[in-house]
Symmetry: C2
Subunit: 436 residues, 2 copies
């Protein structure tokens, strides 16, 4: 019967059997100490017997082992226990030294990311790397939990589309039995259509953008947490989104707070309902406190995003902030214009620790107005098969609705304090990278 490394401390004085990978080996005062890694973490093993030590001669990190021994309390060992009087069995010998060190603290600086990704398969065995992706998995689990608590239904919508009708970003084209098809750049149309079915829907959604540049913020493939809810107004939407982020952060820190602390990652300071600043206010605050004035622009500069997040942390008690009241010049045809000021769109961006992690807009739900916006803003034909099914959802009744698309990797990146979104991606994809 196998005992996980994380459970050895519950078996003090008893014989236990662990299985895992040789993760570290060192000689100290005539004794051989090894760390064995399994899905519970690490357990330290003390080997005295010469025959047992001999079995590990030439065995490199990664060697798969079984160890039988007696669990002893040892506060200085990982998990507070270690194994003594052991019998070692080599299950799978590894005789080549790995090309990347995995038993050291993480040190992926921006200048060695290519090395990191080239050796990703082995590099991910590093425990700090693992924490990033355990946090990401917990983030997803917590988000789904929050959706379930709030009456959302999970959906799976197609990524293979006849053509790109949504507009905006670059799309990938593929050969579909001799015809051309495209990869979905978002679930936008589908999530709105599905409001007519389930009222509240979400999807954790692979997203494809033929982004021709390799930056620290963009990839060609990533996961969007897509949500859409009907019978709500803008204020409900921002309140819901604040609640979701708070729930996720709390769940992540409940589970991995200790690990993140070791790594000098602070729990984000957040208000229950995130502060809201209009774009105009952001431009003005930035201009007043910096050398540059971007008030004439209809978007935020990355510099402004970073600065306003610092500002919000210091002055508004929150590392997350909504930027509202976007000019109509930057809106998509399916966004809703503000009822009182038609120069503004009912859109907000959620900024967190210096970057936009979600766009959070209301949609135009009135069929006639939407058709007009489609024609005026996107030059679209409502009878086109790429638009007609989408528009039919409105023709046959959609309530006021809004939602968000939240970038999983960006959110993870900022939660755990990384510098590049690719570091929060198991196997990142960009213009230069399609492997491993």
């Amino acid at each position: 019967m196998r005992t996980l490394s994380s459970d050895v401390h519950k078996q003090i004085g008893k014989e236990v059997h662990v299985e895992g990978w040789l993760h570290k080996k060192r000689l100290m005062g005539g004794l051989t100490f090894i760390n064995v890694r399994d899905r519970g973490g690490l357990v330290q093993v003390v080997i005295k017997d010469k025959d047992e030590v001999e079995k590990l001669r030439g065995m490199q990190i990664g060697t798969v082992l079984a160890v039988d021994g007696t669990a002893k309390e040892e506060p200085r060992a990982p998990g507070g226990a270690e194994l003594h009087d052991v019998k070692v069995t080599v299950l799978v010998p590894v005789t080549d030294e790995p090309l990347i060190e995995i038993d050291k603290p993480l040190s992926h600086k921006p200048d060695n990311l290519d090395t990191l990704f080239d050796h990703r398969v082995i590099g991910l065995r590093n425990l700090q790397e693992q924490t990033i992706f355990k946090v990401q998995a917990k983030l997803l689990e917590a988000a789904r939990e929050y959706f379930a608590q709030n009456g959302f239904t999970e959906m799976n919508t197609p990524k293979l589309l006849a053509e790109a009708t949504e507009g905006g970003a670059e799309v990938f084209k593929l050969d579909y039995f001799g015809k051309e098809a495209t990869l979905a750049q978002s679930a936008q149309f589908y999530k709105q259509m599905m409001v007519g079915v389930f009222e509240r829907v979400f999807e954790t959604n692979p997203t494809y953008r033929a982004e021709p540049s390799a930056t620290s913020r963009h990839m060609t493939e990533y996961i969007t947490i897509d949500a859409e809810m009907g019978f709500i107004e803008f204020d409900d939407l921002l309140t819901f989104t604040s609640g979701l982020v708070n729930h996720v952060v709390n769940r992540v820190w409940e589970t991995y707070g200790d690990d993140l602390k070791k790594w000098n990652v602070d729990k984000p300071v957040l208000t229950d309902n995130f502060p809201r600043l209009t774009m105009k206010e952001v431009h003005e605050l930035y201009a007043k406190n910096n050398q540059e004035d971007y008030s004439a622009e209809d978007d935020l500069r990355p510099d402004e995003e970073r600065w306003i997040c610092d500002y919000a942390k210091k002055n508004l008690g929150s590392e997350a902030v909504f930027v509202t009241e976007w000019p109509v010049s930057s809106m998509k045809f399916y966004h809703r214009k503000n009822a009182e000021n038609p120069e503004l769109a009912d859109r907000s961006d959620l900024l967190f620790r210096g970057v936009e992690i979600a766009t959070v807009p209301m949609r135009e739900h009135r069929y006639e107005v939407l058709v007009q916006q489609l024609k005026d803003m996107a030059g679209g034909d409502p009878e086109h098969p790429g638009f007609k099914p989408y528009l039919s959802a409105f023709k046959y009744g959609l309530p006021p609705h809004g939602g968000f698309g939240m970038g999983l990797e960006r959110f993870t990146e900022k939660l755990v304090g990384l510098g590049n979104v690719k570091e929060a991606t198991l196997f990142p994809r960009d213009i230069n990278r399609l492997s491993p």
Copy 2:
């Protein structure tokens, strides 16, 4: 303050405000009865006042309404309550009659599937259609819960690959910045590599197959529940898979058992650990009880799959059954040969209600053996960049491992008793269909 239809019965005697879609309208004994649909289901509204009735003149199914009224007990109404003395507000008028009826029991026969899918956006508003996809969402939630209880880590692996190296099915090719790339036909290589990281991993995984035929069992895009676990043997794997299916079925029936009963869907009869029959036994049993003998074949015929499931239900007390001991002639290079009989592979297929819903094999985990199988069975070059990172996971230590790929839509289809996998897909894709 809005009350959901499903909560009206908790407010008997009180004034409530509901919002939703007009789902049905009929006149009876001088009264107008309407059903309002929201995410909680339906609530019946009794309208006596002529001015209120007048507001609904010309309003079609789908009209978005707010209704204020008094909740009264009414055992014959959906949810056991209805609204009286109401004030109706039309929020979004719908004046066109929908092209598909959504207030009737479901009747998607194989001969009208194209109509069903052409009008999918509105057709999904049918409550029985909704049940299919609520069951599917619950299935996913329950599977993830079971994975979490058993120490699995969720992962997200790329679907954009430099090329198809896994072999087997047809792949889609896309234009990747002037180069050719392919869409992943499975997460096979990634989930095995990730065993070296987290030991136990899962992914709910969009899967792409350039399947040139339109059958009732195949689509070009679907979701696979992919799982892989290390430090296990074949028996553990089959036991785990049996446990997962049982957990999912129990959770689905706890939540939607009453809905499924109305729809004449029986809860599957399952043993805790599903019965195991070798392929030879299946061929023999089939031959003994039917006109045909397929013993010479190295795969199962669809007829055999159906028949053996009936047999297992009647004779072995389980509607799920594992077929084991597959001939090596049908194995992939990464499958493991049986240690005692190298003519057999350590593979099983999980059959459920007549179809294969999962392939459940052990993998070859020894680097040298795997490299040899790659060369011999697939003609692959271990130095090829499509194989090298995959093989490095083995070179630097992988324990014995196995896993499964379970088709979400097929499992849903059989759980709720449908006849075509596309009926269990929101927006199905096949050689003929890329929209809506």
